[in-house]
């Protein structure tokens, strides 16, 4: 990026934008100097970076509205950003645009213990909702591994999942209502405090829409009663096939575990070295199967699952003894990303989702590709719902490896689609997977997605260049191709 130090001052239009933003925001809520913008140049996927014309950090919904109105009036792109933990470059700034950072809107407005709901601002972190609800014996179920940091606004925009979503659902299943603003700054309420609402389900459409349809300014989430007890069964297997079969067998036994995770050898070793969770380092794969509910139910299901794993040839089965032991067994899994981060300069996390029955085939294909590209892969995997997270190890300072890691990642995504799965289970398309959308969707399907975008954002100013390819419009408007391409 070759850019002057203060980007906004470089043109009359830029100066006008700057003047208007300054008129509605305090000086500490707007960042125009390039060096101070650096922390905002990328999200969790650091392979993609850019700098905006301005970073703004509004403190009230009314300021969000004014920023949107200003950008609408001046035809300036707007990219919303939560905590910036996203893994698809969805929150990467647009070089011509304003980065709208929502983290200062971080209040839990209200908790209603009887109705079991929490009304929160978009910048509230995922975990802090459960922390605030704990004194009522309630919690917010979706638990992405990034939950300490990621914001509920980001969760809604990515339809984030977590370890427990096989049983408790994704973000879309756990929110009741939200306030959003259109690209022009008009406010509307989607959903309701009941379980449905009249007209089209715009809340479903907004969930997972990656900030392309509107800006989320408030969310009302459902809270669930905290389970009486949870216990985890860890089982080690000497082949991927045996571990994959065991996953199917649990579901086949009529049990929906609270979480069912798989890690392969390299992931197990990295996690064990990092967290000392007691994982057998020589296992080809381990499963972590958590059961929660009433004491009786958990006792019954733990028994069934442990017996099942043994019958299917598990080389070791460990059942959590108490809360501390359960936390330790999870610690390895939860720190898998940073643990893998220690054994290589960089890792690239993929997110394809596949039918569970294809696990063995797909993992073996990934190993073959790993040998082909000469890049190691550690697999952590939401096995219960078929969501793969291959972590490809590489060195970002080596351009050859960077090129290879992109190709390898792309091959994994294509593979996921080929076996009947999809490009992304929970991390989103963003910039990263935009070019792969054609492997999952036909031209007509992409055109339909584009028409939906257009219904909400006719000026195409919300998060341009992300989520869905904009094809038709590029032919119609000369100015657009740039805005919708990030090279």
């Amino acid at each position: 990026m070759n850019r002057a130090d203060t980007a906004l001052a470089d043109s009359p239009a830029g100066r006008e934008l700057s003047r208007r933003l300054r008129a509605c925001l305090g000086a500490d809520c707007i960042i125009e100097e390039v060096e101070s913008q650096r922390p905002f140049e990328c999200d969790g996927l650091t392979l993609y970076r850019d700098l905006p014309r301005a970073v703004v950090l509004p403190e009230t919904a009314s300021q969000v509205q004014q920023v949107l109105q200003i950008c609408d009036a001046l035809d300036v792109p707007v990219v919303a950003r939560g905590a910036g933990t996203g893994l698809c470059a969805g929150a990467m700034p647009h070089p011509e645009g304003v980065l709208l950072v929502m983290t200062k809107l971080d209040k839990i407005v209200e908790i209603d213990p009887l109705a079991r709901t929490a009304r929160v601002q978009p910048g509230v972190s995922n975990l802090s909702i459960s922390e605030a609800a704990a004194r009522y014996g309630l919690y917010y179920a979706p638990d992405p591994s990034s939950q300490i940091a990621c914001s509920i606004g980001g969760n809604v925009s990515e339809n984030s999942g977590g370890v427990h979503c096989l049983k408790y659902g994704l973000t879309v299943h756990n929110i009741l209502s939200m306030k959003v603003m259109t690209v022009a700054g008009e406010e509307l309420t989607l959903g309701s405090l009941g379980l449905d609402s009249p007209g089209y389900d715009l809340m479903a459409l907004f969930t997972g829409s990656e900030g392309l349809l509107g800006v989320v300014t408030e969310v009302t989430v459902r809270l669930l009663p905290s389970p009486e007890v949870a216990r985890v069964v860890m089982a080690a297997f000497d082949s991927i096939t045996a571990a994959g079969d065991a996953v199917g067998a649990v579901i086949g036994a009529g049990i929906i575990p609270a979480g069912l995770e798989m890690m392969d050898r390299l992931a197990v070793q990295a996690a064990e070295d990092f967290a000392h969770a007691g994982y057998p380092r020589d296992a080809a794969a381990i499963l972590l199967c958590e059961m929660d509910g009433t004491r009786e139910e958990v006792a019954q299901h733990v028994d069934t699952v442990a017996t099942l794993f043994q019958a299917l040839g598990a080389t070791a089965v460990t059942i959590s003894r108490d809360e501390a032991h359960r936390a330790l067994l999870w610690q390895g899994r939860k720190s898998a990303f940073p643990a893998v981060g220690r054994i290589a300069p960089d890792y690239y996390c993929m997110d394809g989702t596949i039918p569970r029955g294809q696990v063995t085939f797909v993992l073996n294909e990934i190993y073959r590709l790993s040998r082909q590209y000469g890049l190691p892969v550690a697999n952590v995997f939401h096995a219960g719902d078929g969501n793969l997270h291959p972590l490809i190890l590489f060195d970002a300072s080596d351009p050859v490896q960077v090129r290879k890691v992109h190709e390898f990642g792309g091959d994994i995504l294509d593979l996921s689609v080929r076996v009947g799965g999809c490009l992304t289970g929970e991390h989103g398309i963003g910039v990263e997977k935009l070019g792969r959308m054609t492997s999952q969707f036909s031209a007509l399907e992409l055109a339909q997605l584009e028409d939906i975008k257009h219904a909400f954002d006719p000026s195409l100013n919300l998060n341009p260049g992300k989520g869905i390819p904009i094809l038709k419009r590029c032919q119609e408007y000369r100015a657009l191709p740039d805005r919708h391409r990030h090279d």
Binding site: G199, D201, G293, G421
Partner: protein
């Protein structure tokens, strides 16, 4: 895409008896060319409910039926939209599985497509989710006669907008659904019902309090001074919870829940207007208890008899939800409450994005859609 062949499209204006998606495309193309809108019909079980009357020519898609794929261990079933709910339930039962949203089968006539279009769910909805929650993917034909697939057969999928869930409750105004994949659930090992005598107000309190306990509650409804709580899950959990919660154990409870789900309880009989209130579960009673049935742990309330629309709309809005004239009454006027101008504009734009010529179920959801 499995697709049958050998359709016989005869008279151009005849849009009935279509039995494949290719034929549906052809029928729609004709309707579009002639600017004659269609009313999409599955089993016809819901034509006189849920939406406004739609006077367009019928496009019968009930022949487009059959289970395409069922893999118990994947927790997924895929079926053509005309497949009766009863057929799907029977297939799942053989695999000891079920549809967690417990849709009504309306005497065997209800189809999968109609159920998704209407987002119709039974008593288990607050705990088991809705069909909107369980849909994983759809194939549909939009108003431009394009066959499109969104979502898929896997549990998680965030590529592109969630067009599948958008179909829930759209009453067929965005596309003719041709194939649907759903997440399914295992059947509970044990089901048991507890009954309590109490007022509607007490019942609302109790339902919400019990729902905040981590117990295997799976349905809660109140009618005529009786609260019924259903427990489903591992046998050990159901038995121990029943012992703690007390109440009278109801024998023959399966019939009670079936009658509630199928709307065949005496409460639903007759031709009086039937209103559906979708509210915050804990909202105080805002209608006459005598003519109210409370389901979904308080979040869905049925009210029978003539009601003044405006005050019902207001009461429902105060309770965080909305009222629909579900059945009977004046079905030429709006049956849903008005939306604000921004919502209305966006909903119209969305309709236009799928069906620019307005040939799919015009006016069924709102007069202006």
């Amino acid at each position: 895409m499995p697709c049958q062949t050998g359709t016989d499209m005869t008279e151009p204006t005849d849009t009935t008896g279509v039995d494949t998606s290719e034929a549906i495309v052809a029928a729609l193309a004709q309707a579009r060319a002639r600017k004659t809108p269609v009313y999409i019909s599955g089993g016809g079980s819901k034509r006189l409910m849920l939406g406004r009357l739609c006077e367009a020519a019928e496009l019968d898609v009930s022949a487009h039926r059959g289970i395409v794929d069922y893999q118990p261990q994947e927790l997924v079933i895929t079926a053509r939209s005309g497949t009766p709910i009863a057929e799907i339930e029977a297939t799942l039962a053989a695999g000891n599985q079920m549809l967690s949203f417990e849709p009504p089968s309306f005497g065997g006539r209800a189809t999968l497509g109609g159920t998704l279009a209407c987002n119709l769910c039974g008593p288990g909805r607050p705990w088991g989710g809705s069909i909107r929650d369980m849909v994983l993917g759809v194939e549909l034909i939009n108003g431009k006669c394009e066959r499109l697939r969104f979502g898929g057969k896997v549990m998680k999928n965030v590529a592109g907008y969630d067009v599948s869930r958008l179909q829930a409750g759209a009453l067929g105004t965005l596309g003719v659904l041709t194939e649907i994949s759903l997440k399914i659930a295992p059947r509970a090992e044990r089901v048991l019902t507890l009954a309590y005598t109490m007022s509607a107000d007490q019942a609302l309190q109790t339902m919400n309090r019990r729902a905040a306990e981590a117990k295997p509650l799976s349905a809660a409804f109140w009618l005529d001074g009786q609260l019924y709580l259903r427990l489903s899950g591992a046998a050990s959990a159901v038995t121990s919870t029943a012992a703690q919660w007390g109440g009278e154990r109801l024998e023959g409870d399966a019939a009670l829940w079936r009658d509630l789900r199928e709307m065949t309880l005496p409460f639903f009989a007759g031709s009086a207007p039937l209103w559906r209130l979708s509210l915050q579960s804990s909202a105080p009673l805002c209608t006459d208890a005598q003519s109210t049935l409370i389901d979904w742990g308080g979040a869905q309330r049925w009210v029978s008899g003539d009601q003044p629309r405006d005050s019902l709309d207001r009461a429902a809005a105060d309770a965080g939800g909305h009222a629909t004239l579900f059945r009977g009454g004046d079905r030429h006027s709006e049956v849903r409450p008005p939306l604000d101008s921004v919502q209305r504009r966006l909903q119209q734009h969305l309709k236009h994005a799928f069906d620019p010529d307005g040939i799919l179920n015009p006016g069924r959801l709102y007069s202006w859609l």
